[in-house]
């Protein structure tokens, strides 16, 4: 009798090569499924088991996951854009035009990068509003809220540094205005302005600095904080912590009140 496709996959998972990469092995027992999560370098940040209710749309509206999705799109489209873009004054604008009109699929990649960037800023704010109005920032998740604020800052800085790279009039004056806002910081403002631009005006040094910040430093920093952010979800009791559910809180409040009444009676 011929084997089914599932059986072929099971055979593949049983091979020595597969087992050397994924140690958890075949089988769909609870243990094997937990091991498949726990022994994967990417998935081990997450809980090995989650309640189905936690994965329902109404719990989170998937806003955090969608934000990660836009970030991954931005990485996947940003790297190919780097193959045609030179961060230099004579070439930057011409390269942007080339990407728009000459390079095959350049228009698609650039627009996807741009729209995903807009979407990511929107989704980060929507995610934070959702977390705020559901009270999901409360104990034990205070620290993850702080990480979230850092990630908001990273998102805005990535947007800001990417805005200069087309090197058109809009970019030039936006960065002139934005960097002058930075010089309003007391005492060290002028120094921050100078270090950010690598000079006194938006020029070749500023373009190069913003390019390095946009393509290297800020994405790496964002990935670092995203990893902590996801790991903390598990450490803080999952997306839908039993301790902070309204029903649990009500029950705790009632039992606390009952205990107080009992204590008062004993006191008599």
């Amino acid at each position: 009798m011929a084997k089914t496709i599932d059986q072929h996959f099971d055979d593949l998972r049983g091979t020595r090569v597969w087992r050397s990469i994924f140690r958890s092995g075949t089988g769909s027992s609870t243990l094997k499924r937990a091991l498949a999560i726990q022994q994967n370098v990417f998935l081990h940040l997450f809980s090995t088991k989650v309640r189905t209710r936690m994965l329902s749309f109404s719990a989170t509206w998937y806003l955090g996951t969608l934000t990660l999705g836009t970030f991954l799109i931005l990485v996947a489209t940003g790297i190919p854009l780097m193959f045609y873009y030179h961060p230099s004054v004579p070439q930057a604008y011409a390269d942007t035009k080339d990407l728009q009109f000459v390079v095959s699929s350049g228009l698609f990649l650039r627009n996807l990068h741009r729209w995903s960037a807009h979407a990511m800023v929107f989704l980060v704010f929507a995610h934070m509003f959702k977390v705020f109005y559901r009270g999901a920032y409360r104990t034990p998740r205070e620290f993850n809220w702080v990480i979230g604020v850092i990630l908001l800052l990273m998102t805005l800085l990535l947007s800001y540094t990417g805005y200069l790279l087309p090197w058109d009039q809009l970019a030039y004056w936006a960065i002139t205005v934005g960097s002058n806002i930075a010089s309003a910081v007391p005492v060290i403002g002028e120094k921050i302005h100078f270090l950010l631009l690598g000079g006194n005006a938006v020029n070749a040094n500023a373009l190069l600095r913003f390019y390095v910040l946009h393509c290297m430093i800020l994405p790496l920093a964002a990935m670092f904080f995203v990893a902590i952010h996801f790991w903390r979800i598990r450490k803080d009791g999952g997306l839908y912590s039993h301790d902070s559910e309204p029903a649990t809180l009500r029950a705790q409040a009632q039992s606390g009140a009952a205990a107080n009444v009992a204590g008062a009676k004993e006191g008599q």
Binding site: W173, T176, V177, N180, N203, N205
Partner: protein, 165 residues
């Protein structure tokens, strides 16, 4: 000896060999970290800038008729020929650094970014700009060209702030 000091209740401030080396190691790492921070700061602070010279040659004075306000967008200055003589204003808005423009139909200098308005002497009329447009040092060189030093502010309407030909 150690037992005696314990008995008398004196505080023993001595460090043993292990603690000494731990402190030495951490101290060295701290100094190295401070040095790295200073090194990084110095590296990121450019020592040479390839920016245009602050001194601009604005050409012969007869290019600017009496009563005219002329902008040079490349250098960001106005050359103004008034009854008192020639003077120069910065064209960079004092709010957030946008390039202003002369509006001859309204006789004002206006900023396109956030709507600040100045008169032809740089005085603020309205808008978010906190300060008037600064006057810049202007003089004639030996060839009879007007030169403007963008890095030097001079007092508005002062005798020395004008060039008379």
């Amino acid at each position: 000896m150690a037992d005696e000091t314990k008995k008398t209740g004196e505080i023993n401030n001595d460090v043993n060999r292990r603690q000494f080396f731990a402190k030495l190691g951490l101290g060295s790492l701290g100094i190295a970290a401070a040095g790295t921070a200073a090194f990084a700061y110095q590296y990121l602070d450019p020592n040479v800038l390839y920016e245009p010279s602050p001194v601009v040659n604005a050409g012969k004075p007869d290019r600017y008729p009496l009563g005219s306000v002329t902008i040079d967008v490349n250098s960001g200055i106005y050359i103004i020929h008034s009854d008192e003589g020639y003077f120069s204003l910065s064209a960079v808005c004092t709010h957030l650094g946008c390039m202003t423009a002369w509006k001859p139909e309204l006789n004002i200098i206006a900023c396109p970014c956030h709507g600040s308005k100045f008169n032809e002497e740089g005085k603020k009329i309205e808008g978010p700009a906190p300060k008037p447009l600064p006057w810049k040092r202007i003089w004639l060189n030996d060839d009879g060209d007007l030169l403007v030093d963008r890095s030097t502010d001079v007092p508005a309407l002062a005798q020395d702030s004008f060039v008379r030909v």
